[in-house]
């Protein structure tokens, strides 16, 4: 027999409807009538003949059933029956169902949200043609901080030009970079994110224009460029989506540029999480700087060329490329290092991202945490269902005794748990959409908006489906297996009236609760660690004033100041700021501290040599930042470009370069770099150690020199302002004053503290999320403990009743019930502590001034959990002790 034909026939029947049933009725009637007529002919009475005919024909009902099963997909019907029955049961217990679905929804929702973020940041490919063919060319091991570096810059322009000429492994190779630009002029000046591309980028990526045409190789010519392309978002929000034609022009960085087209909405650039506004073609300056690493090189590998083959080719090309593009103006050691650079190809199908490095371990850790929370929620559900199943033992016993197969009972229980899981998952996916968007929003700062498309792709759906199936198995299988082992006779006889509950009866529930307590302790320890670490960061004293300081970032490209006048103009601006009512002091700096920037020069001091941070600051800098002077003198307004070069250094500098001997009067010589000729600075003062680039970073040797002695000239600066007025008040006043005097200037003001806190966003995220999940886990575990203790006390009603009747005191009953709970809590806390010590390693690098095996944290988490556990078990214990023995013994 062919099963396929049977299925086809069933389908035909399904669409043919109930006609076949009526036909069969008629056939049966005819058959029985013919039989009866024959029997009458043989002499039977009509009535006897009819009865005999029916007997001979057989059981029509069972025939109909057999036919029905043959003609339909019976298992689907049974499944449907189970599901309907399950839904009815769930509707009958609305509280149970609501609790179950809500806890599953939270668990699945949190997991899916975190996974969605991971997916967007890490796993998803760029929306371009065949992204798996894309590779990125980088220096093996990076450029070790040589020259000037852009955030996503890997190579220099000269390197790229050589590479473009020589390489064979890529069918198409392109370069790009990102940079800040400005559109418009004067007070209308608007900062935009520029995406600098070689003319072939869009063609190699296979990205088509949304409107007009995208950048082509013909757009690349001498600087400044004349054409640009805008992003879909910029076109929609800033240009009103108006028609792109030959009159569409924008003033970009002071140049009037022809806008030739719009990129498609799906293309958000090659940096995951960042946006771009304007696409500008690479232009050819008179001379390409050899020390600015500001381009990323990517390409499409030739068919059949692997990354290994491409890397081998690049390694072979490297010596020639490095020789042709050798860095100039640096010492021999640096040049030799440059010569040793080797290029290699790395996968680039998912684009590049700083979010990836920054949030990778946090996100995986969070996924682990939410997974554990889901596990605890599952254990709770399993316990609930177990308790319900015990109450239903009689029902199952009766059904088994009446001949229901165990498979059918299992199917029934699984239908119930799948209903819960699917309902939970549906709600969870809804929740995850809100949560993941909220997460992205909370990661964005004023200065750095993160743009991550939070779409539900197949990976997210597959993930949600997988964890749903898994949860369904975890919390559905345990009760189902228990029910399968049921002895019908035993279940009917005992009928929930055991004298004392046998130990083994509860062992499953017990071990579930112990697991819950252990896991929640791990999460609680994690939460406390992250919260304390964040607290450490927030209260950490970086050695300088944070509160009451406002940072002004000023660009005066449009102010028509000659290059030689930049430093003078910056001090003039500082004086104007100082004149604003409420400003106590103000100073320029080439590098505001704690916000990530860094500038290093090599120095020689006597026989010692090495790197030191260098910052050129205005005269009131140390006063503004609240940094005391330990020795020597402060920088003065009289330290000008023409006077002797002087510097104030920090204690680490002294320790490292003068072995702690008083350095006042010593001279250090800086190592030559382009625009920074070797200069002798006399040390005139010493300040205590402060943090430099960020709170988590160490304290390097630092030197501060007078602003007028800054060898570089740039049309922008930062002014730090100290005031006792609220930051927004002083920021408003300063901005107004500067706008009155210099309407063409671009000014941006931020609270210094807010800027520092922007750098702590990952820590804040970990603290809030792990704290939330830790509490949730503890709460769920306690609900589980409460439920199991209550349930066990309930099942021991008879025993407790007898004990009370025989004269046991209330205290004794309470003690008896709570002793049970105490064992579980103790086992859970011990197991949890061991697990926490193991799991702590994963969090170590994310913690600040804290070790993962922090004893007070472990003790606090264990103590907290134990205290709540006492409360959770005391309530059912007290209820048990108030039992009326007569009632307890009488009722069934």
């Amino acid at each position: 027999m062919s099963p396929l034909r049977a299925i086809a026939a069933k389908l035909r029947h399904f669409f043919g409807g109930s006609r076949a049933e009526r036909d069969f009725e008629e056939e049966t009637r005819t058959h029985i009538a013919l039989l009866a007529e024959r029997l009458i002919r043989r002499g039977m009475t009509p009535e006897a003949a009819r009865n005999e005919a029916r007997r001979q024909f057989g059981n029509t009902t069972s025939l109909r059933e057999t036919r029905h099963d043959m003609q339909t997909f019976a298992w689907i019907e049974r499944l449907w029956q189970d599901l309907r029955h399950g839904a009815r049961l769930l509707r009958m217990n609305p509280v149970f169902s609501a609790v179950a679905i809500a806890s599953l929804a939270l668990g699945i929702g949190a997991n899916t949200a975190i996974f969605q973020l991971l997916d967007a940041v890490r796993l998803r490919s760029l929306p371009v043609k065949n992204p798996q063919e894309l590779a990125q060319v980088q220096i093996v091991g990076g450029n070790t901080g040589m020259g000037m570096n852009n955030q996503y810059g890997d190579l220099t322009r000269p390197m790229w030009e050589e590479l473009r000429q020589r390489q064979k492994a890529f069918s198409g190779i392109f370069a790009w970079g990102v940079g800040g630009d400005a559109v418009g002029s004067g007070s209308q000046l608007e900062p935009v994110v520029g995406f600098y591309v070689t003319g072939n980028l869009f063609q190699v990526l296979g990205v088509e224009a949304w409107r007009g045409r995208l950048t082509t190789p013909e757009d690349e010519h001498a600087c400044p460029g004349t054409t640009a392309v805008v992003s879909y978002k910029y076109w929609q929000t800033r240009m009103g989506g108006r028609k792109i034609d030959s009159s569409t022009k924008l003033l970009i960085d002071g140049q009037l540029m022809q806008i030739t087209g719009v990129t498609p909405p799906s293309f958000l650039g090659l940096v995951v999480g960042d946006r771009f506004d304007i696409v500008l073609p690479f232009c050819e300056p008179k001379e390409l700087a050899r020390n600015i690493f500001d381009v990323t090189v990517m390409g499409r590998l030739r068919p059949g060329t692997s990354l290994t083959v491409a890397s081998a080719e690049l390694a072979a090309l490297s010596p020639g490329i490095m020789a042709a593009t050798e860095i100039t103006g640096y010492n021999a050691d640096t040049v030799a290092r440059y010569r040793r650079f080797r290029l290699a190809a790395y996968p680039a199908g998912a684009g590049v991202s700083s979010l990836r490095e920054e949030y990778n371990s946090s996100l995986w850790l969070l996924l682990g945490i939410t997974g554990l929370v889901l596990l605890i929620a599952c254990a709770n559900l399993a316990n609930l269902i177990l308790a319900r199943a015990s109450a239903r033992e009689r029902e199952f016993g009766v059904r088994l005794a009446l001949g229901a197969s165990r498979g059918r009972l299992l199917g029934q229980l699984f239908a119930e748990s799948s209903l819960l899981a699917v309902a939970g998952a549906a709600a969870g996916i809804g929740i995850s959409q809100l949560v993941s968007r909220a997460l992205v929003w909370s990661l964005s700062t004023e200065s750095n908006a993160i743009l991550l498309p939070m779409t539900i792709d197949w990976r997210v759906l597959a993930f949600a489906a997988a964890i749903t199936a898994l949860t369904c198995l975890v919390f559905g299988a345990i009760p189902a297996l228990r029910a399968a082992g049921l002895q019908p006779l035993h279940a009917l006889r005992a009928g929930g009236r055991g004298m004392t509950a046998s130990r083994d009866h509860f062992s499953l529930q017990r071990s579930l609760v112990v697991t819950q307590i252990a896991v929640s302790l791990v999460l609680l320890v994690g939460a406390l660690l992250f919260v304390r670490s964040f607290h450490n960061l927030m209260t950490f004293n970086p050695g300088m004033r944070e509160e009451g300081v406002t940072a002004a970032f000023i660009g005066f490209q449009q102010s028509n100041i000659p290059r030689e006048g930049y430093l003078q103009f910056e001090q003039q601006l500082t004086d104007e700021v100082r004149a604003v009512p409420g400003v106590l002091s103000a100073a320029t700096t080439t590098n505001p501290p704690l916000v990530g920037g860094s500038w290093t020069l090599g120095i020689h001091l006597g026989s010692a040599q090495g790197p030191s941070k260098f910052t050129w600051v205005g005269p009131e800098y140390f006063r503004t930042m609240g940094i005391p002077l330990l020795r020597g003198r402060d920088l003065r307004p009289s330290d000008t470009a023409d006077s002797a070069h002087v510097a104030v250094v920090n204690e680490t500098f002294v320790r490292q370069y003068t072995s702690g001997i008083n350095p006042i009067g010593m001279a250090m010589q800086t190592v030559t770099e382009p625009d920074y000729p070797s200069t002798a600075y006399t040390i005139v003062g010493v300040i205590p150690d402060t943090k430099y680039a960020c709170l988590r970073c160490g304290t390097p040797p630092m030197a501060f020199a007078p602003a007028y002695q800054y060898p570089d000239h740039r049309p922008w600066t930062a002014i730090l302002i100290h005031s006792n007025l609220p930051p927004d008040v002083i920021a408003g006043r300063v901005k107004r004053r500067l706008a009155e005097k210099h309407p063409e200037m671009a000014t941006q003001l931020s609270s210094f503290q807010a800027l520092i806190r922007d750098g702590l966003i990952r820590d804040r995220l970990m603290a809030t999320l792990s704290g939330f999940f830790g509490l949730l886990a503890a709460l769920l575990a306690m609900a589980g403990l409460y439920g199991v203790v209550s349930y066990m006390a309930e099942r021991r009603r008879n025993e407790i009743g007898i004990r009370i009747a025989l004269g046991a005191g209330r205290g004794q009953v309470v003690g008896m019930v709570m002793r049970e709970a105490a064992w579980m809590v103790a086992a859970g806390v011990i197991a949890g502590t061991l697990l926490a010590l193991l799991a702590g390693q994963a969090a170590e690098t994310l913690l600040f001034n804290l070790k993962p095996y922090d004893v007070p944290t472990l003790a606090a988490a264990g103590g907290l959990l134990a205290a709540v556990a006492v409360l959770a078990s005391f309530m059912p214990a007290r209820r048990a002790s108030r039992l009326d023995p007569v009632q307890a013994l009488r009722c069934d």
Binding site: M1, S2, R5, A6, A9, K10, D23, F24, E26, E27, T28, R29, T30, H31, A33, L34, L35, E37, Q56, F57, G58, N59, T60, S62, L63, E65, T66, R67, M70, Q71, G403
Partner: protein, 118 residues
């Protein structure tokens, strides 16, 4: 449970496939027949040794029809009742030939097996 109710001890058990084969052979030999006619024919050939619940014939008919080995159409019976007449299809004939062959081979094997003396 339902299958067990059909079974009456005095009647010889017949294999499901055997009934299908008998029905197919009957239709091949006698041409279009209704269910009652098929039951009578089996009763006659087996000389009442094989007594079956005649309803099971319809189960066999349904199974054969699902496989496409027989066709059916409505007609009038002996006493002018409406009755469904079944007839064998060409694929049914092929199936019958093949099954007959297999049956004979099987019967041969079993026969030889049972004749072996100790």
């Amino acid at each position: 449970m339902s299958k067990e109710e059909n079974r009456t001890p005095k009647k010889a058990d017949i294999l499901q496939g055997t009934l299908d084969l008998m029905v197919l052979k009957t239709l091949d030999a006698l041409g279009p027949l209704h269910g009652y006619g098929i039951a009578r024919r089996i009763e006659q050939i087996s000389k009442s040794v094989l007594q079956l619940n005649e309803g099971t014939v319809y189960t066999a008919l349904l199974r054969l029809e699902q496989q496409g080995w027989i066709k059916s159409e409505w007609g009038a019976s002996e006493n002018n009742r409406r009755a469904r007449f079944y007839s064998i299809s060409s694929s049914g004939r092929k199936q019958l030939a093949q099954e007959t062959l297999e049956w004979e081979r099987m019967a041969g094997v079993i026969g030889r097996l049972l004749q072996v003396r100790r």
